[in-house]
Structure formats: structure tokens, C-alpha cells
Symmetry: D2
Subunit: 218 residues, 4 copies
């Protein structure tokens, strides 16, 4: 596919570029603080930049009339509303977490919770020492999926990219479901899956969980 | 319920007696090397003894005309055939593993396998030093559920009751699903669930997986 | 050896009796709520009862003039002082944790802490749902050994006998040291080791850590 | 310090350059397939290249008369002999594994083995799917340190940089010591430690284990 990136030189921009190149996709447009680089009109636009670049993002989407995958964090309610407006005529995919494995973890956790009775549940998450917030957003997502009061333990340790574990224990046995991110590449893979989906999708507002559910029929 | 045990003084007989008593059920019949102890006709009969006692088991089932839960290992094909004959008129539940958690593990493993692409899969199992066979029967069940060539690593360690772990890994992330037995109590709980099921079941031959599937609708 | 137990019918009393019997030692004296059972004067006395039985314990030690291993929890300062007085003429071994493995864990943690620079340290402990206190006494012992401010995460899960893990992480690697109790038997083994030590020891007041250090020369 | 790298553009050359720059050290010489880049005579020379460049390495060491840290794998016996000759007048540090954590793991494993009796020992190692050899060299080092027959289980999983775990289990408890590499950075840190050591060392042939032992007094 022919794609464009806004935030091309950021950490995620780089990861996306590397994975997409490896898979034979062509970067035909990019935009960053340094300015724009236009070769051709992209079939899909990817944004991993900052909320301050949001107006520029909208401008480009309206110019190219192509689907948008947006992973920029910290969007305001007004910005989300604007995306939903756009989604009436174009596919817009918005998420704060593009990891396929975390979506699988959530599904497994839901199933385990349904199948097990009389269990205690505990969540642990381990991240690098630079992470300021406790608990992680993903741990909160897990708790939400369980929809009950669950204790979350947060460990801050060296340079761990991100581990999440959910324990279910009763008087006879323990079941544990864990996810360990090895690198940022996994997030780029989720963006690629989203871009492939977007090319064939009808107009609408999608989260990464929607992509996951729609492309993986049980 | 009013229940009977054949193999009352064995390890599993003991565990079953303790759990059933705790839950308010009455042992009204038992049979062991020491002989029989009859108070009343049981509503359900449980057998955790030896294949050599099989004829006695059949004799009692035919006398009491009640459902049978049989966890005795090493049954011959003829003995299984005999059980199937009996199951035309009575509910017969036969299994070599009455752990609820292992059934949940199998379900989780199946779901993870369906949802994940391009993953390597590895299975590890850890058991006490006295276990002679490698790999464990449960590890083989997991491999069967995956229905593909998967490496199984067997660890023999001290007095571990039984740990099983399945790893799914791609280039970006690892998902792990583990089961750890804390004690034999978990198997007794599976027997209780089976007995409760048997009281309401129509005649037929059931495995523990059937019980699990039939009593836990997704 | 010929030994006696005070608190013979308690959980630990039972475990001790089972292990000591297996190893060929003779129970020649016991005392419990039900009363005393005297066959012969013991060479060593073991107390796992309640602080309320403390006077009786002292009475028997003075009568038998034999070493005492005391694992009863919740002793008052006065009671400890009384033990120290007794230790001027007899070996007295007092501890709240008779696990050999925990002593090994402490030694490993000390060594890792000495060898590693610029690491974050995290402690987790997992215990059964019935445990009321958080964090566990053993987790506090680990923190004391490290002698620095360390975060402890406590998980309460089913019927886990007791897991403790210490993580050391820097920007490149993680080292983990874990201890998992499989059963109460491990504590009985520590009592046996203490009893063997006591038979040959000079008068004095010992903790279980002393026994461990004195019997295991590095 | 002023240092030089042979194999500057390789994966390890890059990691070393990044870490050394971060710590304020100056690359004053480099050599690679593309040719040499000489700014100043280095105080220490680092080689992470190929055995085919060995003659060039020796040539530069003799020209600069400076210590050498050499991590190139697959050296022949003749090449090792040549290094030992050189080490009569210069410090030469040679190793196939510059991870500090693995050295700590080896020390912990040795201590645990000394302190524990009647244990079963198991080793597991997990590496990315591209690793061809089983078991890993590091797992073999662990086995050598234990100096007894120990089972090694090898898992090949996605893109795992390298996990090693040693289990010690008896009838009552399990002790586990694990090492998990997060990235190549840890190896660069070992090279830096070696370079700092080399600047102050007397002539001699050292392995990384020597550096570790000499700089970390227990």
C-alpha cells in the first residue's frame, strides 16, 4: 500500500516505517516538525504525533480523502468529536494501544473469568523505572474488562518494556495469564493490521478492539 | 446427597470424603480392602480404587441402580466397553483428570491459538521427582488440543503437585497461560461437580470435559 | 532421638510427628489440651503450641533438663526473657520461621544486592486468602536484609502456602530470586535440623538463622 | 577514556559506541570493512568483529601498545595462543559473554548449590526462534558451574533476547534463580567495565569472569 505518516521521526513513526518497509509498503508522504515530504497521495494516513499537530492531521485527511489511523495520546474531547464527525464519510481508527497480544490477553481474561467460580483475582504490571503513572493504562483496561474490584500491584524495574499478569486462584489451583512486550514492534504490527483493515472498511469510527474483533471471528 | 465411595481409604477417597463432608453430603456406603460399610443405598457411587476391583464396582452399580463417577486409572478396553454398556441405562462419568482448572486451561489455550498468528508455541510441565512418565498426560492433552507439532519440556522437581505452562511467542510479544495445582483438593472438587451433574443427568457415557462443557455455557 | 512435643495435635505438631517418625525418631512424651502422655524422658523438647501454654513448657524443660526448640508465635517480651535465662544452662532455639529455603533466599538476596549496582529492587509475596496481615513477616525480613527502602507487593490468592520473589532490574537485565513453599513439611524439616543441632550444642540462645549459619559453612 | 573499536558498524560495535558516548568517552579510532578512521592513538582497543580480521587486530594492538578487549566469537586455538603471547606485555581481556548479570547468576547458583541438600536441579533457557544451537552456551556454563548432571530444557520462542532459569527443588520448597536479558545494552556495559579495568591492569590474560571477581570483592 501507499501510506503516509505524521510524526515520521518519532519512536513509533520509526518503528512503523521499518515494519511497513519490510512488508513492501511505500511511504509516499510524511510530515514532521521539519516539514512535509510529498511524493504521492497516500491511500491511508497514520498519525503518531502530538495533540498540537491535530489541526494539521485533519487538514491532510480532508485533502487526501483517505482513511486515518491515529495513535496520538492525550486527545481532547473536542478532538475526539472532530474525528467522529470525519468518520461519517471516512474510516477513522483511533486507539491508545495497538498491541494485538493485549487484545488477546483481554479475551483470555474474560473467558477465564466466565469459566471460573470462587476465585481470587490479582493483577500485576511491571514497567521500566521511567514510567511515572501507576497503575498502567493497560492494567486499568484489564480491570474494566473484569468489571469487579481487583487489586493491581505495580512494579517499576529497570527497562522492562511492559509485563502484565492476571492470576485466578481458588483453594485448589491457580491459573495465570501473562503478556510480555518484547519491543515496540508489536505496536507497529497493530498499526499495519489497522491500515490493512482501513483500506477495505466502510466509513465509521473504530477502536483497535473493533479491528481485532472484526478480523478475528471466533 | 447420599453417596458411596469405593476406595474410601485411598488418597483420593480421603480427599473426596473431606470435601463432601464439608459441603454437607452424607457417606452412606463405602467399600475398601477392609470390606464394605453399608448404611443406606447411595444416590451416586464414586470409584477411585484399582482396576482389580472393577467387577465389584459393576456389581454395586447394578445393585444400587445409581450413577457412577469413576476415576480409577489403568482401565482395560474391555472395562471401558463394559462401562459404555452400563451407560445405556445409567449416567456413567469416566475421566483420568477431574481438575476444573485444567479444563479451563484447555479452553484458554484453544482460544489463544485461534486468535494468534505466526507464533511459536512451547509447553512446559513440572512434576515431583517420583513421577516416572514424561511428558505428563495433561501436557499430551494440551498438545492434542493444539493439534500441531509442539515441543514439550518436562521438569522433575522435588514435590511439585503439577504445573503446566503454554507459551505463545512472536517477534513482538509473549503470551503465557499457566496452571498450578496446589493440592489434590482440586480433583475432589471436580468429582463433586460430576456427582451433582450425575444426579440430574440422563443415561449416557460422559467424560469430565463433557461435564465441564455442559455445565459452563459460554 | 527420643523427643517430646508440646502441641502434639496441632497442624505443626502433626507435621513434625510425621517427619520425625519417617526418619526413625521416637516420640516419648507429648502434651496437649487433652493432657500429657509420658513414656520416657525426652532428649529434646519441641513446642508449637500457644503462648498460654508457656508456663507448662518451662515447667517441663526444667523437669527434663533437655534442650528446647520453640516455634510458638506471639510470645511476650517477658517470655523471651525467661527463655534467655533458661539458655544460660540449656540450648534454647527460638524462631518464627523454620524454613531452610527462606534462609537460603536471604543469603542469595544479600549476595545479589552486593554484586549488583544501579538496580531497582521489588519484592512480591503471595499467600492464601485467609492470611490477614500484609505484607508477610518473611517479606519484611527480606527488606530488612536489604536494608533499604523497597516496595513490597502483596497478593492474596486461593490457597497458596507462600511464595516470595525478589527482583533486581537495571537497564539491561533482570535477576529474579524466588522461594515457593510446597507444604508445611519444609517447616518440620527445619525443626528436625534444629533438634539435631540442639543435641550437640552448648547452652545458649539460638535463632533458626544461627542454626543455618553454624551448620552450613560457606 | 579515548578508545578504538574494530567492528564499529556491527550490532555490538554500535551498542558499545552508544553507551560509551553516553558516558563521555571518546572514540578516537575505528576500523571496519569500510576502512580505518584514525583521529588519535586510543588508550584501549575493543574488538567485536570476525576471526578473519584477527591479524588486523593484532597489528593495531602492537602498533598502539594498548590493552585489548576482544569479544569476537569463533576464535581458533592458534588465535587464543597468540592472544596469550601478547598478554605477557599487555592486558588482554577475552570472553564470549560480557553480561554482568550472568556472572551474578553464576555466583548465586554456586551459593544455592552449596547451601541446599537433597535438591533436584533443572535448568531452562529461552531464546528467539532464530537461534540454531540447543542448549545455549550460557546454559552450558551454568551446568559447568554446578559440576553435576543436570537436565537443560530449551525453548525457542519469538524474539526473546535470552532468559535463563535454574530451579532447586526438594520435598518442601522450590528456589528459583532467573536472568532475563532486556537488550544488547547489558553486554556493552560489560565491555565498558572491562575497558575501565584494562586501563589500570597489569599485563595478563583475563576472562570476563576474572574482571567480575576482581572488581567485586564479596
Amino acid at each position: 500500500m501507499k501510506y503516509g505518516i505524521i510524526g515520521r521521526n518519532g519512536r513509533m513513526g520509526n518503528e512503523i516505517y521499518n515494519l511497513f518497509s519490510e512488508k513492501g509498503h511505500d511511504l509516499v508522504f510524511s510530515y514532521d516538525k521539519e516539514g512535509e515530504n510529498f511524493l504521492e497521495t497516500p491511500e491511508v494516513l497514520i498519525d503518531f504525533s502530538l495533540p498540537t499537530a491535530f489541526e494539521k492531521v485533519i487538514e491532510y485527511v480532508e485533502k487526501f480523502r483517505c482513511p486515518l489511523i491515529i495513535g496520538t495520546t492525550g486527545l481532547s474531547n473536542e478532538q475526539i468529536t472532530k474525528l467522529k464527525e470525519l468518520s461519517q464519510t471516512l474510516p477513522i481508527i483511533q486507539s491508545y494501544n495497538f498491541s494485538l497480544g493485549i487484545q488477546v490477553l483481554l479475551r483470555l481474561v474474560k473467558l477465564a473469568d466466565k469459566l471460573l467460580d470462587d476465585v481470587d483475582i490479582e493483577i500485576t504490571e511491571t514497567h521500566h523505572r521511567f514510567k511515572k503513572d501507576k497503575p498502567s493504562g493497560t492494567a486499568k483496561m484489564i480491570k474494566e474488562v473484569l468489571n469487579k474490584e481487583v487489586n493491581i500491584s505495580s512494579l517499576r524495574l529497570g527497562n522492562v518494556p511492559g509485563d502484565h499478569t492476571v492470576y485466578f486462584g481458588n483453594l485448589g489451583e491457580i491459573i495465570t495469564i501473562s503478556h510480555r512486550a518484547l519491543s515496540r514492534r508489536t505496536f507497529a504490527a497493530g498499526v499495519l493490521k489497522s491500515a490493512e483493515f482501513a483500506l477495505k472498511a466502510v466509513a465509521g469510527f473504530y477502536t483497535f478492539q473493533d479491528i481485532f474483533e472484526l478480523t478475528k471471528e471466533e
